[in-house]
Symmetry: C2
Amino acid sequence: MKKWIQKQSSELIARRIFTLRDIDCHHPEKDIHHTFFRLETLDWINVIAVTDDNRFIMVKQHRLGNDEITIETTGGLIDHGEDPLEAARRELREETGYSPARMTLLKKLAVNPAIMDNYIYYYLAEGCVRVSDQDLDKEEDIEVLTYSREEIRSMMRSGEIDHALVITGLLLFFDHEQDI
Amino acid sequence: MKKWIQKQSSELIARRIFTLRDIDCHHPEKDIHHTFFRLETLDWINVIAVTDDNRFIMVKQHRLGNDEITIETTGGLIDHGEDPLEAARRELREETGYSPARMTLLKKLAVNPAIMDNYIYYYLAEGCVRVSDQDLDKEEDIEVLTYSREEIRSMMRSGEIDHALVITGLLLFFDHEQDI
């Protein structure tokens, strides 16, 4: 299978954390031109965090994408030059005040290769204990909640947890557990 | 938990299938203003399709988001006013030429409520048989491949399948199977 050849790209909009571009392409076999758009952004982390007494640490917040209050695992952007593992540890600490005894990379996935260039790193953080208060940006309003494994499974079934990238992380965790 | 109040929105860019907006918000408790961006787009479908002899129907294509050739389940946009189930059936037929004996909704999830307003419907299509050629748009270059269950699991482990939303669908399927 031949790849499209990227001939030229034009920046439609550029912000601190993303750039939207049109990419003019030529297909070497079909000899046709097509313009694709691409959302370029930083890589992300997501943390499935479990306390030392086996409760899942979740964050509740108002999300402006779909205007819903969601329950999610901790997630965020990896800063320029930051190590993904450190970003995961930092985000967990900032959003929840918890610190893990050990962290494991569950999986690195492409967020949405049809339109986005970035990757998401899923970490499992085990043996978490609360060591500080939250350290939030002024526009962040995040409530920390913990749930049993059975409650998490039930919230996945009911749709109370319905963020696709969060469901991915939780299913990776449950899938990973079975392989052990 | 109080929601942000959306005061005003400004369109940054509008295309046939998406609109990017800035949303100026006010928080009623904190009494602060903040601008969030939102990518508004159509809802999507994704189809975990299995042939009548238990092979997974996958599509291989060059994705311009991350410039990689990916192996994915069939997915696409739900047209304005189209029923999600019909969209799933249509996309499967167009991209692969297969038609299912039965379809089941596995899950409806929010794609990414932090920045996007849309939902993705995951369908299981069982008993698929090839009934026609592909019916592709001129800019689509899609190869159809089928794999055994063990091959799919192995490709998920190796990273050969690494599209997060596709992994979600496959894990939903394997998770759903265990509950039966």
